[in-house]
Symmetry: C2
Subunit: 191 residues, 2 copies
């Protein structure tokens, strides 16, 4: 595309959300996290970045809570009520009670099953391009579209893959020595 005489190639840096491309990512997240985390020693699973930050174990619980209360439930609220009924607030800390006493393999299995169910429900809504323009009301962000909700679901999955990988990598912050300069995940150099 050409703006003001300058060539800007956006063809590989931005995509318009489509149901097919979005669900291609959403369907892969459980297997990705399973491959990364199942069977890892506990020290990795419960690692975090200090203070109130989350471990890989905490993140899987958060993703489970999202399947139960966030993505498809909010899509249905948009389709049934539009802007008239704001979404329920999402509890970002639900996993600390809900995951207590459970094992990581249990949580991975549950996330995988819930995600499959979510994608089945999403498919059953037969969303058209026009439906993706429908508007709902976020309790804090205000008016949002179903298209924005769907793309946020995808980006949110990937954000947590980033987070888990970062938490794990940073465990070796001291161990990598001078290589720290080359590792953006550890140096924190802006991506």
């Amino acid at each position: 595309m050409r703006y003001d005489g300058q060539m800007i190639d956006t063809s590989r840096t931005r995509r318009a959300v489509t149901l097919d491309e979005a669900t291609a990512i959403l369907a892969r997240t459980p297997a990705t996290l399973d491959a990364l985390l199942r069977g890892l020693p506990d020290g990795w699973i419960h690692a975090h970045e200090g203070g109130e930050t989350w471990s890989p174990f905490d993140v899987i619980g958060h993703l489970i809570h999202g399947e139960q209360t966030d993505w498809v439930p909010r899509a249905k609220i948009i389709l049934e009520h539009g802007e008239a009924r704001p979404f329920d607030k999402f509890n970002r800390l639900a996993q600390f009670a809900e995951s207590a006493g459970r094992t990581l393999p249990e949580l991975l299995d549950e996330f995988s099953a819930l995600r499959r169910k979510s994608l089945d429900e999403l498919a059953s809504l037969h969303l058209t391009d026009a439906a993706l323009d429908k508007r709902g009301r976020h309790p804090e962000l205000g008016v949002v579209t179903l298209r924005q909700l769907l793309s946020t679901w995808v980006a949110h999955d990937l954000d947590h893959v980033v987070q888990i990988s970062r938490v794990l990598a940073r465990q070796y912050t001291d161990e990598v020595g001078p290589w720290r300069a080359y590792l953006r995940v550890i140096s924190g150099t802006q991506g």
Copy 2:
């Protein structure tokens, strides 16, 4: 641990590298990337962040080149030559020629096979804790230890999982609308 009267819990934020814990991550990277990428539409596979940045396809080629020329080869140079022989320089752009004309499934298969071979070779070195203290010479960073090389291998894998996930997520930078404020992977808020 207590420093200057302040409690700092480092038990979940830093780990000392061990061969078992490091290889637990290294062994999982090919399956993680396979689960995330295999079968995705080409638009995702060749997405990047603009300019000279890398796509998921480029990153897998880079990881292949690392198996061939970086990690185990450098470990052997340390064990055989110590600081006397600096490592060969790593070619960060090798994948642009080497991956040309190939498909992502081929690259994923090759990375997986090479990683298995690397881990077999690593195991055959029977590295002790004392061996991990052995020193070599990086052409730019100077003296490094085998322990630092091993932990960097792990962090480097995870850094590229972060990168691939970030590249994918940022394709929806415009699509997520007001949710951008909540998505660190898109807003670029420091992790």
